[in-house]
Every structure is written in C-alpha cells, then in structure tokens.
Assembly symmetry: C2
Homo-oligomer: 211 residues x 2
C-alpha cells in the first residue's frame, strides 16, 4: 500500500489530455465550465428550460431514496424584490463584517437581478435532507449550464429562514413550504450579462491516493 | 401573482419533449440516467478516469470559493476490506433495525465489491464544508456516469467517523485526513455488474411555481 498526497497536476495522471476537445465529453465540459455568475440579463427563462432544470433536480440521488426535497420556483419580480430587501436587512444586521460591508454598497443586489429563484426545501423529518437538497441543486445548476443558463447559490435564503423574523418574512409574502420542510438549498438562475470568467484557481495538493 | 403546486408532468410544461432524443442534451441525459448501483465488476478504473472524476469534484461551487474539500481515493483492496468490516460492525451495532437487518445478511457487502472508494473530507473550520463536499461529490458521480462508470453514495463512512471508535479505525488503518478535516461525502465507483435499472418513480406534486 502506498499513500501519496500530490499536487494534482502530476504528469503521472496524464492530466492535460482532458483539456483537449477530443477527449473531454460534453458532461465533463459542462461541469468544468459552470461558473457562479453575479450579473444577469432581465430575460426570463422559458418554461421548457425551467422544466428541464427541475427534472434534473428530481433525479438526484437521495438517502434511502426518500426524495426529501420540494422545489419552489419564484419568478414574480415584485416578490423577488421584497425577498431581496429582507435578505439585505439580514446582511446589514449580520455579525460578519464582510456581509455588512457588501450589503451597504449602493449598487448591491442580493439576487443580482436574476429573473428566477429556486428554493429547494427538505423534509426536516427525513434521514438527510441537507444532502438530498444539495445534490438536487447541483444537478439543477449543471442542467442549466448545459442549456447556456447561469446560476449562483444563494445562502442568504437559508440565513434569512434561520431566524424567527426571517421565517415570518416568507409567510408574510405568501411563500409557503410544505409542513416540516425548510430551505436547505437555493440559487438564482438566468442568462449571464457578462462573458463567463475563467475558473478561480483550484487549490493545490487536495488529493490523496491510497493504493 | 399566482401560486400553483402541481403534479410535475403538467401538459402546460410540455414536459414529454425532453424525453425525446432530439431535445435532451448529453449533460441532461447523463443526469437523468445516473443510477445508484449496488453491484460492481472487479475491474479497476484507469487513472485517466479517476483523474477526470476528481477534477470534476474540484470544479464544484463552494461557499466564498473556499474549496474546503480534500479528496481521498482508496483503491487498495486489503484496505477496502478492512474498512468494510469496520462499517459492517457499525451497522450491526446501530439503533436502526433496518441497518442491523441488512448487515446481518451473509451476502452483505458495504461497498458492493466496488474497486474504489472516494472520501471527500471538508475543513470543519470553513463556512459550509458539508455543502462544498456534497456539491463536489455530485459533480464526481455525474462525471463518472458520463464515462459509463457507476457509483453509490456511502453514508456508512460518515457514520463510522462519527464515533470515537470509528475515528480510531481510520487512523489504525493509516488513513489520514488533513488537520481539521472530516468526511462529509463518500461514494464507491466502478463498472456496474448489472444493467442500469429504471429510475425509481419520482415523487409527485413536489414543485410549487410562484409567479
């Protein structure tokens, strides 16, 4: 048995080959080229695209096949703006200085003007709702990317829901989740208003091979 | 604003169209056709495939781009067998009757004889290590599926690590994770020994549209 922790791009792994068009399949290309985007065009997604994205989420693996997820798709602009104001308030009151700082900027937009927000709520009585919902959301972000649609994870939704005041915001706005369900994953989706940037550099030395 | 919770396959959504070859792209097909497989051929994955799978994981989104993951790839059969025995013991001592029952079967194999186990550990001091590691693992399972390689999530690894006795098993076997890192996602990978089954039926009525 040999244990090796290695900077990943070892020649041993013939790694460079997958960056050549000829050997990288479309799914892997989609995975490597997906980006978190923070500037969106106002164009709404069509229903077929939304349908394909949700169906991708519904086909994630789940603990004991419980499919403990529920998908809430919000396209109503007035509602998105109201939710955004509530999220911004949570940021401004946060203990985390970086969040307060970013939320205080005049041009700050929580949802980056994206036309649609997907919230995946999970059954808090299930075996592993956070895992189920997160796996579903990654499927959704990749399905979107394959259709030329960008996305950005929205932890602000979980932050908002984690306080009593925040929970009240959802019900005041008429956003109801199934009984016992809570948000475990959320992301905005839309067409990027910018060219997709390069990936941020990946961490080195993050792989250990045993055997 | 209108709120509609709907059985997903509403005619309104023109849903059937994506089941036609002509309109479903390769990435979405991979997502819909990925299955959790519980019977593997002994054939080892080649290094290029393992490399592509890990690289897919490294390109997941992560909270504040912390990339709080570390990938441990275990191919050593003796080590896999020793880990399997330890996991089986955890199952047999579990409070959950279904786990005790399944682990008591003479033909029970925790890893289903798969040739490789990937453990994604996360930095417990990071913002959201469970999210980061789970998103990475879904990328890995989909990259694998696109290469004709099957996988199955292994919650037993997290169960094993959650006890002091279980932690000792890893160190006794010489499996070391980076300081402060703990397993948040794990899965076995390999070539399926069976034909891929149909997806289990998806839950109905699990989508709410607002606006």
């Amino acid at each position: 048995m040999s244990t090796v922790t290695t900077p990943f791009r070892s020649p041993k792994w013939m790694w460079g080959t997958i960056n050549q068009e000829s050997t990288m399949n479309e799914t892997i290309r989609t995975i490597l080229e997906r980006r978190s985007i923070r500037a969106y065009k106002p164009d709404q997604l069509d229903e077929t695209s939304i349908g394909q994205i949700v169906e991708a989420g519904r086909h994630a693996p789940s603990a004991m096949n419980q499919q403990s997820w529920h998908f809430t798709v919000i396209r109503d602009r007035t509602l998105l703006e109201a939710l955004e104001i509530a999220c911004k308030k949570v940021f401004l009151e946060s203990d985390i200085e970086a969040l307060r700082e970013v939320a205080g900027r005049p041009d700050f937009s929580v949802f980056y003007h994206a036309p649609v927000l997907f919230i995946v709520t999970g059954d808090t009585g299930a075996l592993a709702p956070q895992y189920d919902c997160t796996l579903a959301m990654e499927n959704m972000m990749l399905a979107a990317a394959s259709l030329g649609i960008s996305s950005c994870w929205m932890h602000s939704i979980m932050m908002l829901y984690s306080t009593e005041k925040g929970k009240a915001v959802f019900s005041d706005l008429g956003i109801a989740f199934p009984e016992r369900y809570e948000p475990f994953a959320a992301a905005v989706f839309g067409y990027s208003a910018i060219s997709l940037p390069d990936a941020a550099p990946r961490k080195e030395g993050d792989v250990t091979f045993i055997g």
